[in-house]
Structure formats: C-alpha cells, structure tokens
Amino acid sequence: MKPFAYRRATDARSAVATVAADPDAAFLAGGTNLVDHLKLGVACPSLLVDVSDLAADLVEHLPDGGLRIGAGTRNSDLAAHPVVRAHYPLLSEALLSGASGQLRNAATTAGNLLQRTRCGYFRDATAPCNKREPGSGCPAVAGHNRHHAILGASPDCVATHPSDLAAAMVALDATAVVLGPDGERRVPIGGLYRLPGDDPTRDTVLAHGELITAVELPAPFGGRARYRKVRDRASFAFALVSVAAAVRMHDGVVEDLRLVFGGLAHRPWRAAHAEDALRGSAPTEVALRAAADAELLDARTLSGNGFKVPLARNTLVSVLRELTDGAAEPEDDA
C-alpha cells in the first residue's frame, strides 16, 4: 500500500477533469472492490477522487417508459426499489444473488458494473498476471483455472467478469451514460465490456477518466425473466455459471428472448446464437438443448473448467424450461 491523496468531488465535470488529467488517479465510490485492491497492492493510485457526494442515487422514470438509475445508487437500494421489483425483477434477483448484505449496502450501481475479475492470480500482487502487469504472463492458463473463461478468452487472459448485475443489465438492454472530458456519450452495456484479446488490462471500452453517471433501462421487456446463479457455496460466492434470461411467449412459440451467461467469459456473454435458434420456435426440450449447444459450440476449456460446458448447458436449459413453463407441450396447450 502506498500513500495516496484523497479528494471529495463536488461535481461530476471537475471530477472527470481531475481524473482524466492524472493517469494515476482513480474514482472511488462504494470502495468494496478498489479498497481491497489498494490493500492488496493490485491498484496503486496516487489520487482517489471520491464521487460519493455527487447525488447520483436517484431512480427516475424516463418519458419512454424506461428507468434511469443514478450511478451511485447502492445495490441494496436498487434491489429493493419498488419499480425495479415490479418491472425489472431480473435486476433485483441478480443483485440479491451477489455479495452480502453489508457489501450491497456499500456497493454502487456503476461500481458493481466496473468491478474487476476475482482471478486469484490477478489479486495476488506477487504473481504474474497480464491484466495487472502486461507481459508478465498468465499462470491461470496452465494453473488453477476452475473459475475461468470458456468463451472469448485469449492466450493472454482467461479471466471472467464477476458481476451478476452486469449480466442482468445486458439482458435488459441497458445503456450506460458516460461523462468524459469531452462531454457525455451513451454506451450500451452490451458493448461496454471488452474481450481480453492482446490487451487484458482494459476490462471495458471506457477511457481513463470517463465516469458512468447513470444507467438507463428501456421500457420493460415483458414476458418472464429469471436470474439463475450456480455456485459452490449457497450464498456469498461468485458464479461458476449464471444465466440472465427474459422470454416472451406467444401461442406456444418464443416470440422474443434475451439470454446472457455470467461466469463464462471476460464479459457478460450475450448468447445470441441460442437466442436466434429459439426465436420463433416452440421451446421443446430438444430445441432448448440445441440452442444451448449452438451457443457453446465455440467453448474452449482449460484443465480445470471443462465442467462449465455441461453446467452452462444445463443451467440455460433449466432456466428456459422454467420460463417457458412447458408451453410447448401439446397437452398443456390443449
């Protein structure tokens, strides 16, 4: 741990200007991830700009029927918000499946989305890690990789993104409102995250100094939604595999759906192949399995995570079976 300066921001623009101007500066919000990293020596910023006072914890209706969530909204508050519970239960379910009550009381919406991988090598400052120290190597590829990626990984990094909320946000087609030194831009959450490629140091497309100020949800998708998380421990554990799913049925056929895997890749993994395979189809057991297989065709497993392929398939099928509720069974339709 090295000494750092601490400043409380009073407005977003000057906070962004301050951090953008200093490559060693970082934003601090709930601190549930960054403070750990400071203690572990994983992050060594020289300046922390605390954005907790920016009053970014409002949850407001948007004219188009959507919802705007202030970036500083605490996870507990968001999960308990009546509008979220009524119209975006997927978000509540995802949030409440993560961390602990104490952590959710502190962690913010944007902080949750921007939390970093829990790869044990990344978090051990004395171990090699391309994400932490470019060019030092990735010991997880041939080491302990039970929790690591089976989709979209690179030889340089096989880390997974740990956020439950992020998977749900991608399934809800949410958009991040991002303030940078040159003004505001909007980034769909589905496009926020990067695959590691040959630069695993960057988790997202955000530039240094850019600040998420809000997340906007479109009008509710309708149909039924479910966040299912599979983990070794019954609570307070990161996902081995999770599925955020929303399905709209019509006449026994899948009218539209959104499927996102957590725990499988460097980013929440939109299962577009599986969606395409099912959209307009009857959700028979055979069709569900085929859709899952289509998505996992490109899975590449490591020494310790081969189980994630059948586990991801089973989880997806199980969730879809529940959401489609036997709608394709002829006897149920009668």
């Binding site: 741990m1 090295k2 000494p3 572990l40 020596g41 829990r118 044990g120 090598y121 978090r123 051990d124 004395t126 171990a127 010991p139 041939a142 080491g143 302990h144 599979v230 983990r231 070794d232 421990r233 019954a234 609570s235 307070f236 554990a237 990161f238 081995l240 081969g306 189980f307 059948p310 586990l311 089973n314 989880t315 099928v317 199980s318």
Partner: protein
C-alpha cells in the same frame, strides 16, 4: 452446579469489550510488517533496504544481514525455521525481512520497497510427485507410524468381499477470524507478549529459549484468542520475530499477520492420499483392514497426519495394518487442524465401510453394529468408557434411519435427488497435565486461576461451574483468570483437552480450598463446606455458619487459597470419544451442487459439563465438517509453488445458507478413567465423521461414489 449455563464472556465479545492480542495500547507502540518470499525455494543473493528505510516513520528494516541471532528453540513444538538467520528460503511466504515503523501504514508501504534478489532453487510442492517418502517419527502420544495386528493375508484370503480403494482429502487452512497477532514489550529487561495463541506456555518456552532469556524474564498473556482450530497451537516465526525485535528496539511492538500471510505462516492441514483394503465375509464380518496414508511434510521439519489412527480402533477385526509415510515438500510445515488425524482419516475408512455395505447388500448401520469393537482391537485394552451403541441407536431414532430405502436414487423430490448416509466418529482423547489455584476473598468472591486459554470454546464459563460445584456456591460467585504464564501451568488448548485436563485441576484446587476452609473454621479438613455469598456453612456433625469477613478477620487473613493439580496417569485403558453422524443431502438433477439438508449427531464423550457450550462445540464441529465435505480446499499452483486464492473469498468456508438444521445429542456417561471429572474431550470430535456421512449420502442420492474431498459439482455432473 454444573449444567446449562450461557457464556459469561458473551457480552464482552459481542460489545467489543473483550480485548484480543492486537488490541492492547501502549504509548510507544510501533508496528512491524513482514516481507515474505514469493518463491518456494531460493537463495537470497542481494538485499537493498535503502528505499524502505527512507519511508517517513520507518524505524528499522531487518533482514538476515542485521537481525539478532537466535538459538534453536526447545520445550514446545515450533513449526517454522528460525527467522532471518540465513539467506535460504524453504517455502513461499517465509519471512525474509521485517519493517518496523511508527505507524502500520508506513510499515506496509515500506514492505513494498524492500528489494530482495532470489536465485531460485528447484522446489516440489506436489506431495504426490515426491519419490523419496519417509517413515515419520510421530510424537509418542499419537502412536507409532506403523502398526500390525493379526495376519492380514489370511484375513483377506478368508473374505468374500475385498474392497481396495484410494481416497484423498484436500489441503485446508484453519482460517480463524482473528488473524495471528503478537504484541511484544521489552521494559526493564522483561519481555511481555500478548499473543493470539492456544498455548501461552508453548510461546514462553520457544521465545525464552530462542532469545536465550531466563524463564522469569518472559511473560506471555492471552486473555482472549479469536479462534485457533490448531493454527495457534504450535509456535511460529512471527511470534519469535515480534519478541526478538521488541528486545532489539525496546518498548512495544505489534505484529499482525495479513489474511494472505495466514495461509503461509502457521501451518495447514496437509492433503492426504489414503489407500484402504477392507475385507469382509458375506455375513458382514470384517476380516482384514489395511490403511496406508501418505501426506506432505516440509523440507525443514516433520509433521505427519495420522489418518490411519482411527482404523486402529474403530472396528473389531482380527487383522489390522496401518502405515503412515510423509513426503517433504517446499511449503510451511503442516500442523494439526480441527480435527487432526481422525478428521481426514475417518473419511476414508467410513466411505470404505459404506462401499462394503453396498457390495454386501447390508444396511450400513447394521454392518457397523456387526463389527462393533468391545475392546481396542489394536492394543487389546478395554475402552475407558464407550457408548457408541447408544449413539447409533439414538441417532438412528432421531434421524428416522429405519425408513431408509436401500437402493440409490430412490428418494426424490421433483428435480432434487435425496440421499441418506451415516458414519461413525472416533477420536483419540488427548490429555495434558494441569495445575490450578483457587482463592476465596472475604467478600465471597472465588478467583480460580489457571494458565490456559479461551479460544472460543467456553473455558471462562465452565471452569467456574466446576469450582462452584465443589464449593456449593452459585457459579456467578466464581471468576476464572487464565491466559498468563504467571498463573499455574497447563497444557495448550488443543486436542480437545482443556475441559478434562484443566477442569480436573480446577476441581482439585477447589477441593483443596474447601478442605482448607474446613480446617480453618473447625480444625477438621474433612468437614463438608458450602459457600453462599459471604456465608460459609460447615457441617462437622453439627452445622455451623460463618461469615467470611468475620472468620477471615479472626484468622488475620484477607483471603484463603489452595492449589490443585492433575496429570494423566498411565493406565490400561484405551481412551477415545465416539459418535454417530447421520446426513441427508439434496442434489439437483441438472445442476448437481450437493447441499446438506439436515445432520443428526449423537456423541459418547464422557460427562458433559455444560450442555450449552458442549452443543456449541459440536454444532461448530458439524459446520466444520460440512466445509471439509463440500467446500474447503486450498489449491496449490505447483508451477509457482504457492497456494492460490489466499483469502476468504477464494478459500470457501460454509456460510449460514450452507448450514441446515443440526440436531446434536449426547449419551449420558461418566468416564472414571479419563479425567478427574468424568469427562473426555469433545471439541474436535464434532468435525469427525461428517464428511463421510455426507459423501455416503451423496452416493445414496446419486449412485456416484466420490472418494476425494471436497465433493464438487463437477464430480456429480
């Protein structure tokens, strides 16, 4: 006077009034922080501490170049190498430098600026890859490395079923909430340590001998210890470092291990590879048991996990052979962890028994009954007391075992496969000599003193109960002082030994006090006394009532004290505790994460002094067993030669959501042989037998036989 009594130290712990080792203040307190080796074996070729020394507030940086010289410690188990004495590294995490600063933050910053160059040496951390295994020399109280009774080949030859299988258990870390900490003060030629320890006298012996200090110049205190589970039993380098630097610098110095350092600084439960041969006749009589165990030790010292010890005593069998071998690896020395030896060992034996039961088509409980050992089958000695048959019967009744269908996969609720399994628990009784003192003050207060430790088990609560029982007073009238080498000597709080050992000494001290009071009051030490407040009733034919203040004034004393002691005598009994554990698990068909739905456990452990704290111990043991069965595993990266995930997110302990209804009961028992108070040990017994009961239940649910712990979903997918 003994009975259910809530913890007297509960409010102090909940409110924070209880002070732990790292919470003591001193005006001149300095902070030490460790620099540890990132490589498992190396020669340190260069040292540069100049940048670290320039950090404001840094007092000194010590390496093997400038650290005080130490002597080899004697008198208690020491698990490390002597710190900062040479340029060799024997395990990742070994202390290689220490920074002392005015503030903790300054020390931690300087740690990152100490530059050490390492010339790495080849290092093996995988015990299964070690070619040269060794026959260990365990401490005498653990028994010999190898035992043989009867003719194994003949037993196998006459069997109808012979199971040969290999079992394994994972490396595990104790992970108490209180990370180890030592506050050392050197004042006027006296060294005082406040330490997170399970044995103040162990720390005293190691520190005084390593620093070559006279015994009366060292005092070790531990008023509260925040959990140990074995990690604070042996003495380790951080304690020696704190002591040696306090003496070097003078004044007060605090050293607190980080959570990551707690994975490399005070041992771990070694992983084990166990091979079992279990032979039985068609009628279900065991004819041969062979249990061969291999576990790692360090390259610089020896620890052996005696996993086959349980197999030496668990079942009546004419031929029993057990062996233990150790494989040196480049890690810190493994050490006892709740429950050592039988904890990992009974997993192998009890799953093997279940396998043979399945093979023979005999109910697993019935098979155990048919092989019940009336005497210790290896030593031939009678057991001191053994209520295992009553445990089986009561456990089966509470669980509803009689309704268990034999076939696997036959209990199902929707997508949940349900399974029932059971196992026997056996644990050797450890005993240590102990002394105590009891003093009655004129205001009626009884102060009992014994230099033992409170590590969360209830010592502050039950020792006064035992003394009060002798004196006839309410337990609230008695307080216990402990955790101080200036008090009467006891053993360490380990091996589930404290209640039976220290409790026997406390009872003896209270009896001596009662006799002295009787003598002072009436001239007859055999007169019966009864204390209530400041009234002392003495019955010596006639009944006389004395007021303490008047009696003591007449005698010209402020208080009356007496000492007592107890030591385990050699005797001709085999001493073990026993239990029967029954488990119900649920495994989802598609997402087969095994979850425990209920546990029933009934124990035979001698007299239970306080049913509340005893239940707490066994409940904690069952939770511990759930962790062993399904979650806990320290993974080693053999390329880097280190444990990965050295934190409580990566090292998975059960949380509340993993712990179902736990039903704990004891059979009524009084053991006249094991101790002076009828008790045997209980604390660790609760974590024995849980993992095999769960593994057997998983098999009953799914038909899958998992022979390695922890059982993970990928084993069942």
């Amino acid at each position: 006077m003994t009975g259910a009594r809530p913890r007297v130290d509960g409010p102090a712990k909940v409110t924070g009034a209880a002070r732990y080792a790292a919470e003591w203040r001193a005006a001149d307190l300095r902070h030490a922080a460790l620099v540890t080796s990132p490589v498992p074996a190396a020669t340190i070729t260069a040292v540069d501490t100049s940048a670290a020394e320039r950090v404001p507030g840094v007092v000194a940086v010590f390496t093997h170049h400038n650290a005080p010289r130490l002597r080899p410690p004697v008198g208690a188990p020491y698990g490390g190498r002597l710190p900062l004495q040479d340029n060799r590294v024997h395990y990742e995490g070994e202390p290689v430098a220490v920074v002392v600063a005015e503030r903790l933050e300054q020390a931690r910053e300087a740690v990152g600026l100490v530059r050490l160059d390492y010339a790495p040496l080849s290092a093996e951390t995988d015990f299964r890859a070690v070619a040269d295994t060794a026959v260990p020399t365990p401490p005498a109280r653990w028994g010999p490395a190898d035992t043989t009774v009867g003719d194994l080949a003949a037993g196998i030859a006459e069997a109808d079923v012979v199971l040969r299988a290999e079992y394994s258990t994972a490396a595990r870390h104790h992970s108490p909430i209180e990370t180890s900490a030592t506050q050392a003060e050197w004042r006027d030629g006296v060294l005082t340590l406040r330490d997170a320890t399970q044995g103040v006298f162990n720390v005293h012996a190691v520190v005084s001998s390593a620093l070559d200090l006279p015994a009366d110049r060292v005092r070790v205190l531990a008023e509260y210890t925040g959990g140990g589970f074995g990690s604070k039993g042996y003495v380790w380098p951080h304690q020696v470092i704190a002591a040696m630097l306090a003496r070097e610098l003078g004044g007060a110095l605090r050293l607190v291990l980080t959570r990551a350092q707690s994975f490399t600084s005070h041992g771990y439960q070694p992983p084990t590879r166990q091979r079992l041969v279990l032979a039985a006749t068609a009628e279900g009589r065991f004819t041969a048991i062979r249990h061969d165990s291999l576990s790692p030790t360090s390259t610089y010292g020896e620890y052996v996990e005696m996993t086959a010890n349980g197999s030496r005593v668990a079942y009546a069998c004419p031929a029993i052979t057990t062996t233990h071998r150790v494989a040196p690896v480049a890690t810190v020395l493994p050490t006892p962890m709740r429950a050592p030896h039988e904890g990992p060992g009974m997993f192998a034996l009890e799953v093997a028994v279940d396998e043979v039961a399945c093979e023979l088509g005999i109910d697993p409980l019935e098979l155990r009954l048919r092989n019940h050992a009336e005497v210790d089958p290896t030593s031939g000695k009678p057991f001191s007391t053994k209520g295992l048959l009553a445990c089986y019967a009561e456990g089966a009744r509470r669980f509803g075992w009689a309704d268990r269908p034999r076939a696997t996969g036959s209990l199902r609720e929707g997508d949940q496969l349900i399974g029932w399994g059971m196992a026997t628990a056996v644990m050797a009784t450890m005993r240590f000599p102990a002394a105590a003192r009891a003093r009655l003050h004129a205001d009626g207060r009884v102060v009992v003193e014994a230099g033992c430790q409170e590590i969360g088990t209830g010592t502050y609560t039950i020792m006064p109960q035992l003394a009060a029982e002798v004196l006839g007073c309410p337990p609230e009238q008695v307080v216990l002082r402990l955790g101080d080498t200036a008090l009467p000597r006891t053993g360490m709080t380990a091996g589930s030994s404290t209640t039976l050992s220290v409790g026997s000494a406390v009872t003896a001290a209270a009896e001596a006090l009662a006799a002295r009071l009787a003598l002072l009051a009436t001239g007859d030490p055999t007169a019966a006394v009864r204390l209530d407040g400041i009234e002392l009733t003495v019955k010596n034919g006639a009944v006389e009532v004395f007021r303490l203040d008047e009696l003591f004034a007449r005698l010209g004393v402020d208080s009356v004290a007496a000492g007592g002691s107890w030591e385990p005598r050699e005797n001709q009994r085999s001493m073990h505790t026993f239990g029967a554990v029954f488990a119900e698990v649920a495994v989802d068909v598609d997402l087969p994460v095994p979850r425990v739905r209920r546990l029933v456990a009934v124990y035979s452990a001698g007299r239970i002094v306080n049913p509340l704290t005893a239940r707490g111990q066994m409940t904690g043991g069952l939770v511990w067993g759930i962790g062993q069965a399904l979650l806990e595993k320290s993974t080693t990266d053999h390329r880097l030669g280190r444990f990965v995930d050295k934190n409580l997110a990566g090292y998975r302990l059960p949380v509340n959501a993993d712990v179902p209804d736990l039903d704990v009961a004891f059979v009524e028992e009084y053991d006249p042989h094991a101790s002076g108070i009828g008790a045997r040990g209980i604390g660790e017994l609760g974590s024995v037998g849980v993992a095999p009961a769960i593994a057997n239940a998983v098999h009953h649910a799914t038909g899958k036989r998992v022979r390695s712990l922890p059982i993970a979903l990928e084993d069942l997918l």
